[in-house]
Amino acid sequence: MIGLTHYLVISALIFSIGLMGVLRRRNLLMLFFATEVMLNAVNIAFAAISHYYNDLTGQMFAFFIIAIAASEVAVGLGILIVLYKKHGSLDLDDLANMKG
């Protein structure tokens, strides 16, 4: 029988995969993918908990997370575009003008 824990563990694993992606990626676009993965992981957890408590709040939260993810993408891509216009690159290693 699949219990809540199963879902949560999957969620945890996917979250960690996302985290690894964030750590690994140097290309900003790909890095954003990884953050999406993390948010999706959380969505699974919310949906699962919501299901097991028979409570709608979790679904609400997941719903808003999706909305937030969408807005983030919009703004994030906007910033990436201006950055790309200026730098011609999305590589993080080229982006270290300010340091120290």
């Binding site: 809540l4 953050t35 957890a45 908990i49 709040t57 609400m60 997370i65 703004v75 910033i79 990436l80």
Partner: protein, 496 residues
């Protein structure tokens, strides 16, 4: 089958929404105005923004303490009122800084002001709720607007800053969401008052602590990022440097106040529940933050970057007050920010006044120390004012931040954390060095170039802002009493 829902208008308590609605409406009005006539001067928008904010301020001030509204999503307690007032006042000070004598990219967008007002509304929502969803949505609204405002400065550095802030913000959002999920799993609710009740009942269950700690850690990471605590502070110096000076000053106050409010609600809850572990972690982070930021600020060559580190250090200073979780500690947070706000915004305004498109002193920095060398002989009044801001930040009495400092330290002492107060004292001493460095440059060195440029951007509105900030910094001793008693009343009324 579903029952029809009857909701009376009174029970919604719509008044609790008024301040945010005003801000949002203001933003929309600006957008509409721009649609109607695209050639309106920025001064119009500036004044409009200020007007909206003033009305907002009035509406906030008129709220009753401890009311809930809209299915208990809105929470108007003392903390939220005080923090909203702080946010609005800081915003009012920030707005006129658009009226420089020279033109800057971002202010040629009317949308700038609309976004700004949406951001204020976002912060207001964030502080006026204990529902994690609304907090999250408000936070993201404000953050997204803020990222854009930073990028709008339209320089290579500001894009870099926006990207860094955005990316790390996204990661932090992930942590926040995950933390909320754990809380939800633990309690079946995401409304903090209920969370607290359920958790209190479940505290004795075996094996649960790991999840409690875990949820705290995940949320802590998210807010430590916002509050720029070590090791989540790395974005702060770069973002402050890349953002325009007023925005940097603004960022060192407003988002942090908002984040503090949420932190008080969340971590205060944990500590109240007897999870001492959270308190210890926060104090350790606080000490690390103030110390490391201080030592890093020592070696900076740029004033703005130095002020960025100093803001981090100040945040570390205050988060310690949060960990105390006493009424005084919580009061101290707002009290400190209220006093810090004027000085810090004043200092950043001084940088703004001296801002150039071309970097005349250093290939990398806009405001290297050399720029201010010998300012006393060029602009004595400016130098004295800047020195007052620096001394105030260093905690020299009787300037404003000093009173905040002793209040925080007193709060620490009162809770039995004398060692923490000592650490705070020593850190203030370290910090004095880099503030003093600027004073030394201004007063004790010869000018590097014939710099009439230190007041390059100066205009009447900016002077007024600086003048006001100076007055607030110097005359702090006269308004500390009403301020602290008001804040204390508000905080204790809301039960913190």
């Amino acid at each position: 089958m579903l029952q029809p829902i009857n909701v009376s208008l009174e029970s919604l308590n719509l008044i609790t929404l008024a301040p945010m609605l005003i801000a949002v409406a203001g933003g929309l009005i600006i957008l509409i105005l721009d649609l109607i006539n695209g050639k309106l001067h920025k001064s119009l928008y500036v004044m409009l923004t200020i007007l909206v904010l003033v009305v907002d301020f009035g509406a906030t001030l008129g709220l009753n303490v401890n009311e809930r509204g809209f299915f208990d999503v809105m929470l108007i307690d003392g903390v939220s009122i005080v923090s909203q007032l702080l946010i609005i006042v800081a915003s009012i000070i920030f707005t006129p800084l658009a009226l420089t004598s020279k033109r800057f990219h971002e202010y040629s967008y009317p949308e700038f002001f609309a976004l700004f007002l949406f951001m204020v509304a976002g912060f207001q929502f964030m502080v006026a709720s204990d529902n994690l969803i609304l907090i999250f949505v408000g936070l993201e609204t404000a953050s997204l607007a803020l990222y854009t405002l930073i990028a709008l400065h339209n320089r290579s550095n500001s894009y870099e800053a926006a990207v860094k802030y955005f990316t790390m913000g996204a990661l932090a959002a992930g942590f926040f969401a995950m933390g909320s999920a754990v809380i939800y799993g633990l309690t079946g609710s995401i409304e903090l008052y209920r969370v607290a009740d359920v958790l209190a009942a479940r505290m004795n269950e075996t094996g649960l602590m790991i999840a409690v700690f875990g949820s705290a850690v995940l949320l802590l990471v998210a807010f430590a990022f916002k509050l720029s605590l070590f090791p989540f502070h790395t974005w702060a110096p770069d973002v402050y440097e890349g953002a325009s000076a007023p925005l940097a000053g603004y960022m060192s106050v407003v988002p942090k106040v908002a984040a503090f409010v949420v932190s008080i609600r969340i971590f205060g809850m944990y500590i109240d529940l007897g999870v001492e572990w959270v308190r210890i972690v926060i104090i350790v982070l606080a000490v690390l933050t103030m110390t490391l930021a201080n030592v890093m600020a020592l070696v900076q060559e740029d004033v703005k970057r130095m002020l960025a580190y100093s803001s981090i250090s100040h945040a570390g200073f205050i988060i310690a007050a949060l960990a105390l979780d006493t009424t005084e500690g919580t009061t101290a947070i707002f009290f400190y920010y209220a006093l810090f706000m004027f000085t810090n915004l004043g200092a950043f305004t001084m940088l703004w006044i001296s801002r150039h498109k071309v970097r005349r002193f250093d290939a990398r920095y806009d405001h290297p120390y050399e720029k201010f060398a010998g300012m006393i002989s060029i602009r004595p009044v400016g130098a004295v004012i800047m020195a007052i801001f620096m001394l105030s930040l260093a905690g020299v009495p009787p300037f404003s931040v000093f009173w905040g400092k002793i209040y925080v330290m007193q709060a620490a002492v009162n809770s039995g954390y004398v060692w923490l107060a000592v650490v705070m004292g020593l850190n203030s001493a370290i910090a004095a060095y880099y503030y003093l460095k600027l004073v030394v440059y201004m007063f004790l060195k010869e000018p590097v170039k014939d710099v009439d440029t230190v007041q390059y951007n100066s205009s009447k509105p900016l002077m007024a802002v600086v003048g006001f900030a100076t007055l607030a910094t110097v005359a702090a001793i006269f308004y500390v009493q009403p301020l602290v008693s008001y804040i204390y009343y508000m905080i204790s009324a809301s039960g913190y």
